[in-house]
């Protein structure tokens, strides 16, 4: 077992945020990406966790010219994109540990860690591995419906049990504004996120509406960094990013 507490490759990382949800498909990856964009927009250098080797380890893949956002994912390690990763828990845990110890993260303001849904191997592994580095906390994502909230409340219990601070709850897919007539429809009900935060006694960070254009531009590899401020999701995400920036302890070098 490697020595715990040795800064190693995470020495230059100021703040670590985990993005969690008990529920699948609520937009953890989308919110992680959008949060990274919003933090970058606020002038910060971000790493979302493909891949070359250097002396200090694997080199993350840079998203933009200025190298202000970089990425690490098992997706970069697959020979073919359709290759299935059919691994049981222990193997997944080992890779997660490697992502922490063997990636040359360099100097970063924020490390945003996107996770799969659930409260199992990956979540325990990432919490255990990152614990020595005192993560800022967890952003917990839900959609407004009761079915989502039903799973996410269990995630909040997980956070409590493993001693992971909850920065707050984000309600995603909170309303859809029709591009043709601007009618706002609550496609996935409403209100669940705020109520969940209240029930669990954690901050409610905000509601992010559905923006198919942002998703489309992310998928089509368009320059979403430029287009991002036009998105209806932008005000909500900037506000959430600002709340996180306010959380960062003063005086951390």
């Amino acid at each position: 077992m490697e020595a715990a507490g040795e800064p190693g490759n995470l020495a230059g990382v100021r703040h670590i945020i985990l993005v969690l949800s008990g529920k699948g498909g609520v937009g953890k990856s989308t919110i992680s990406t959008e949060l990274a964009l919003a933090l970058r927009h606020a002038g910060k250098k971000v790493q979302g966790k493909a891949v070359h080797q250097c002396d200090s380890g694997w080199v993350p893949v840079f998203v933009d010219q200025e190298q202000s956002i970089s990425l690490m994912s098992v997706g970069f390690l697959l020979e073919k994109p359709d290759e299935a990763v059919v691994w049981r828990g222990p193997k997944k845990n080992a890779l997660i540990k490697q992502f922490v110890s063997d990636v040359a993260w360099g100097q970063l303001d924020y490390l945003v860690v996107d996770t799969p849904p659930g409260t199992s191997d990956e979540h325990m592994a990432v919490v255990d591995t990152l614990r020595p580095y005192s993560p800022l906390g967890a952003l917990v994502v839900t959609t407004p419906q009761a079915v989502s909230v039903g799973d996410v409340r269990r995630e909040l219990t997980f956070c409590k049990k493993v001693g992971l601070r909850v920065i707050g709850v984000v309600e995603n897919m909170s309303g859809f504004v029709c591009p043709h007539c601007a009618e706002c429809t609550n496609v996935f009900s409403r209100g669940g996120g705020e109520e969940l935060a209240r029930h669990a006694g954690v901050p409610f960070l905000g509601s992010v509406p559905l923006d198919p254009e942002l998703t489309r531009s992310l998928e089509e590899g368009r320059d979403f960094i430029q287009g991002f401020p036009e998105s209806p999701a932008f005000p909500a995400l900037s506000c959430i990013a600002q709340k996180i920036l306010n959380e960062a302890p003063v005086g951390l070098s």
């Binding site: 699948g24 498909g25 994109p81 849904p117 079915v147 997980f158 007539c181 009618e183």
Partner: protein
């Protein structure tokens, strides 16, 4: 199986009982002797149990939140509308069990009888089982590693007294990991009819779903077909629009490329989410919705697929 170490190499692995992390594990002797690599006796036990179950369908997706549980629940509702059809719905999503809520059975408890665990019956011909029924509070988190989840799935398949069942629908969590491998392995001798794979139209979904399809091929699980969920949205004021744009042609193009049947496309109707939250059948709450019509057509195609694969008893070719 008792608690295993965090870095358990797996009982079937060449390192079983011999790895550094095996030291101190109560099962070390068993694994080192090679006994762990022998086929699990539960597989035969489950095969026996499954003799009273005519058709077994897995509902899968590489992607989370595409509507697997919603679909599984409504497949169960749809099939059970014929009171002569016995339907069983098994939820093997251990960390995020949504089925009790969607079926309106939150708070129900499982009972033990002489013949095993009794499923919770929504109707006389519709029985449901989920880890959700074993938790005392809706805030309880199931923080289990793979081996413990696998043990639960084994119990669900071996110890639940399903009775005579025409269709067993197995709802799964997203991914291609412990739960999926266990479901396929434990049911290996019992013959699964096939898998229904759920996706939404975007490439981000399809990318994960292609991996799930690859998983099915790897474990030789037949694919009944793909359902494209959240396929278009009818704005109540004006016209159809896309909330999850099919940036690479959606499921239609993927199915064409991979030569897999597209069972149907279900549009996004906000009433679906509301029905699920209330624990009601959407098919009954909104019988005229284009989504209901799509569901019914898909259910019929699944029934047709299954009827071509009548169980043949002992001569079955297992997966």
């Amino acid at each position: 199986m008792e608690e295993v170490p965090h870095d358990c190499p797996g009982v079937g692995s060449a390192q079983a009982g011999r790895g550094a992390s095996c030291q101190g594990c109560p099962n070390q002797g068993l694994c080192a002797s090679g006994a762990g690599a022998a086929p699990d006796p539960a597989i035969e036990e489950i095969k026996e149990k499954m003799k009273t179950v005519k058709h077994k369908i897995l509902v899968l997706s590489g992607k989370g939140g595409v509507g697997k549980s919603t679909f599984s629940a409504h497949l169960a509702h749809g099939l059970a509308e014929d009171e002569n059809t016995q339907v069983a719905l098994l939820d093997i999503d251990i960390c995020g069990p949504s089925i009790p809520k969607i079926m309106g059975l939150e708070g129900e408890q499982v009972h033990q009888s002489g013949s095993g665990w009794s499923p919770v019956f929504l109707e006389d011909n519709l029985g449901v089982m989920s880890v959700g029924f074993l938790l005392s509070s809706p805030d309880d988190a199931v923080i289990w590693r793979g081996p413990k989840k696998n043990g639960m799935i084994k119990q669900f398949l071996r110890d639940v007294d399903w009775g005579e069942v025409d269709y067993l629908i197995v709802d799964t969590p997203p991914g291609t990991s412990d739960e999926h491998l266990s479901a396929v392995q434990y049911l290996a001798a019992a013959h699964i009819d096939g898998a229904v794979i759920i996706t939404t139209p975007q490439e981000v979904s399809l990318q994960d779903v292609r991996k799930e399809i690859s998983f099915c091929h790897k474990v030789k699980l037949p694919i009944i077909g793909v359902v494209e969920n959240m396929s278009g949205f009818i704005c109540p004021k004006c016209q159809e629009t896309q909330i999850f744009p099919p940036t690479t042609g959606g499921a239609e193009v993927m199915c064409h490329d991979l030569k897999i049947p597209l069972l149907g496309k279900v549009p996004l109707d906000p009433r679906i989410g509301k029905s699920c939250d209330k624990g009601q059948s959407f098919l009954v709450e909104a019988p005229d919705s284009p989504a209901t019509l799509a569901y019914r057509s898909i259910i019929q195609r699944i029934q047709e697929f299954c009827s071509l694969r009548q169980p043949k008893g002992e001569n079955l070719v297992g997966s």
